[in-house]
Amino acid sequence: MDDLDQLEAQSIFILREAYRKLRPLALLWSLGKDSNVMVWLARKAFMGRVPFPVMHVDTGKKFPEMYAFRDEYTKKWDLDLILGDCPPVEEIDPSLPPAARSAARKTAGLAALIDQHKFRGVIAGIRRDEQATRAKERVFSPRGAGHRWDVRNQPPEFWDQYATPYEDGMHIRVHPLLAWREVDIWRYIERENIPLVDLYFSKNGQRYRSLGDQDITSPIDSNASTVAEVIAELEISKTSERAGRAMDHESEDAFERLRVAGYL
């Protein structure tokens, strides 16, 4: 087994644990590269089908290409799609910096969906290498009442044994991609031929490395127009993946505050 085989096998193991232990269960599908890999891994785990719903929490501010992609692959992959919308920005904590406040809309939209469907497990595609607070995550991450993440009191997790405590109002975030790195995702996309929104590929010297809402994501300078070129670029790049995400840089703790409140 090479490193991708091992990452794949581990993610499948995690997805199968979640399916067995946490019902009802749903998978967050943001239409980005990581969550496409995650849907793909779910299909691997369950012999070609995704036996639980996928959720898209829609800010209404995604790129048109993303909506088109969603419609196409919901059908092609036979997904049970649940859509959720987000409250207007005026209803969000005004003490957050502007981009973080905009991002927090998604947290509120997600919370409403989880409450509505009473999900006990929500699969999310975060990776440790994306952002420092994500590096602290568990594979099975309990979210207490109000969906808050108690970063200082996380359960022990070792030897592939995951805690599944449950009280009313809480759920478990499941993170099958935690151990993957950005370049692993791309190498796996290449190996498996996983389809992507083409905003990730260079046009006129620019491409998106990470896709969020239109108003808070910026493209990077790049000539990488194929998966292979993106991988080659990443092998030598030393720029952080989320450099194009405004909210990560507004203040030292903005992202942590978002995450504690339930943001991905």
Partner: protein, 625 residues
């Protein structure tokens, strides 16, 4: 069914999986600084990271503080401690490593285990000047318990000793002695300064006498993770799916390989099946799968295993796992309250879940000198060796460093992981004994006493037939109830009418009668009740047995009435029958009565039964209030 891959897989570069390395050591001995330095020296930092650290350091009035690289949570920066483990990949030549940064603070032990449990090698960071401290010992113990095979010691802050050879040799000897006691083999002891970069990536000019490897050289020398492919096949069943009328037995192969046509045993069911198909989706069709792969199997016949069933090779005794209902295990204990004998948990072993009870605590690690001592309980964050009993024999492979087998965890009834339990092997049982599988109440005695308003106890009334035991017991029961104390009476006739109706009056049957009564009394007492046992129990040895069964709650009460009085009363006409020879072996007539030598209470019965009962009531009430 399988969707054949036509991707660029063939052209993909085959890369070995990353080797996880854990960095452990006492707080402030420099773990985070070491990692920051390692990343910097191996050119593994992302753009902007260095500038960020310099800026964060400047804001706090520090020179470059490498640990800010990792301690990225706000609270960590403010408190200057690492709260949780962080994983950071870095590369040495062609080899990938994942560094696990483990926090040193005592209360964060579980986070450290979370980070360290899968590591292949460890760097134990020890302040050269301070030497081994409490966390050094604790972490070293943990490395042993979780079975990390390769340990490199970094004598950090050696600059504070001016890299003086003899001072460093002394520090090295101390650490080697500590690790030697734990039977941990040390691969290298590197005198270094993480802050200044001495002997990390490059050889320090300040220690010309040092001939050993730099830290990076020592890490490169760690062998890659062991292959589990050559071992006998094991697959714990993770789940069974039925999609489109096909049944898939899903799981991850923990070791060995499996091939279409192989015969396997479904462990718990002891049924044999043949592998009909190794199923994968969107992958090349291959009739074989090996350790580490998450696959699905189709079985012939189409048997239905349960989650947790271990699949292993059929027709090969040598390749079968151990089978036992009592298992010795090591333990690292993560709950905030001590572990006691008699507590019940779920033992999770791969995907299996077994109800277990702690039947003995065999040794507790003294963290001051790392010796094993007898103990009644395991303290929070403590280490021990214990014996677990399961309700039925379970299948397992004992834990072995570097492999996934036998790595149990204990889970409480809230589904929280409270302990790590690497299994040592079957526990020996004394000749002729049966493995027992008790469970215990999860309500503590204190909580029961609080709920009832009184403690429990067993008051064992012994005396000749007709001495008035049952009468006194019933009157006392009523008196206690009037005082708000709930008591239960177990008397001979009641027991023999039901629970012991199969017993006669032979010495063996009498002993069995007492044994059963003692166990029932114990169960009632453990539920918080006051129990009054009224049994002739003529032999001292039988009452000793009852005392042994019940433990410290046993109180022996002698209902002292002379034989003549009893015989004169003869409420049930038994003495008359015995004298007439109709009852063989009647206590006091044709069988002995051994009066207690030191009862806690002697009740004289030459007075009204109510008075005797009042004396007993007062005695009991004093002891349980």
């Amino acid at each position: 069914m399988a969707d054949i891959v036509n991707s660029n897989a063939a052209q993909a570069i085959l890369r070995p999986a990353a080797t996880p390395i854990v960095i452990v050591g006492h707080v402030d001995h420099g773990k985070s600084s070491l990692i920051g330095r390692l990343l910097y020296d191996t050119d593994s930092l992302q753009d902007g990271k260095l500038a960020q650290i310099v800026e964060s350091s400047r804001k706090r009035g520090l020179t470059v503080e490498w640990s800010f690289l990792l301690d990225s949570l706000q609270i960590e920066r403010d408190q200057g401690v690492t709260v949780d483990s962080t994983r950071i990949p870095f590369r040495l030549g062609d080899r990938e490593f994942v560094i696990v940064d483990a926090p040193g603070h005592r209360q964060f032990l579980r986070n450290m285990i979370t980070g360290a449990a899968d590591a292949e090698a460890a760097v134990l960071v020890v302040d050269a000047q301070e030497g081994a401290q409490e966390q050094t010992r604790r972490h070293a113990m943990l490395l042993r318990l979780i079975g990390i095979r390769h340990v490199i010691v970094l004598l950090n802050k050696s600059d504070l000793l001016n890299f003086e050879e003899s001072a460093i040799a002394k520090a090295e000897a101390d650490v080697r002695q500590l690790l030697g006691r734990l039977e941990i083999e040390v691969e290298a002891v590197v005198p270094a300064s993480a802050r200044d970069g001495d002997n990390i990536a490059s050889r320090s000019e300040r220690s010309p006498w040092y001939k050993g490897p730099t830290l990076i050289e020592a890490l490169s020398n760690v062998p890659p993770p062991a292959s589990r492919l050559a071992l006998p096949f094991r697959m714990p069943v993770q789940d069974v799916y039925r999609f489109d009328d096909v049944r898939y037995v899903a799981g991850r192969i923990e070791r060995g390989t499996v091939r279409v046509g192989d015969q396997i045993v479904i462990g718990a069911q002891r049924q044999v099946a043949t592998i009909a198909e190794v199923c994968r989706w969107h992958a090349p069709v291959r009739p074989v799968a090996g350790a580490g792969e998450s696959i699905a199997l189709r079985l012939e016949p189409d048997l239905v295993p349960d989650r947790g069933d271990l699949l292993f090779p059929a027709n090969d005794e040598a390749a079968a796992p151990e089978r036992a209902a009592r298992i010795r295990t090591r333990l690292f204990w993560l709950r905030g309250e001590p572990l006691q004998v008699g507590e019940s948990f779920v033992l999770r072993l791969a995907t299996a879940e077994h109800d277990v009870t702690v039947v003995s605590i065999d040794a507790v690690v003294d963290l001051d000198d790392l010796t094993l001592r007898p103990g009644d309980s395991v303290p929070p964050d403590g280490f021990a060796e214990i014996t677990l009993a399961t309700s039925h024999a379970i299948l397992f492979d004992p834990f072995s460093p570097g492999f996934g087998d036998g790595r149990g965890v204990l889970v409480d009834r809230h589904q929280r992981i409270v302990g790590g339990a690497p299994l040592i092997g079957p526990a020996e049982l004394a000749e002729g004994t049966h493995a027992i599988h008790p469970t215990s109440s999860r309500i503590s005695a204190g909580a029961q006493a609080a709920a009832r308003g009184h403690r429990s106890g067993v008051f064992w009334l012994t005396g000749l037939p007709g001495s008035g035991k049952s009468t006194v017991a019933r009157a006392t029961e009523a008196d206690l109830a009037a005082q708000g104390i709930k008591a239960t009476v177990l008397d001979g006739d009641t027991l023999r009418a039901g629970l012991c109706s199969d017993l006669g009056f032979s010495p063996q049957d009498r002993q069995e009668n007492i044994r059963r009564a003692a166990h029932v009394a114990k169960i009632l007492a453990e539920s918080g009740q006051v129990v009054i046992v009224a049994l002739v129990s003529p032999l001292q040895s039988d009452r000793d047995l009852a005392r042994k069964i019940i433990g410290e709650e046993f109180h022996e009460v002698f209902v002292d009435s002379p034989l003549e009085t009893c015989e004169a009363r003869d409420p049930k006409g038994l003495y008359a029958a015995a004298r007439a020879g109709r009852i063989p072996e009647f206590t006091g007539v044709s069988a002995p009565y051994e009066a207690p030598q030191a009862p806690v209470l002697r009740l004289a019965t030459d007075r009204a039964a109510e008075e005797t009962a009042q004396e007993l009531t007062t005695f009991i009430a004093d002891r349980v209030r």
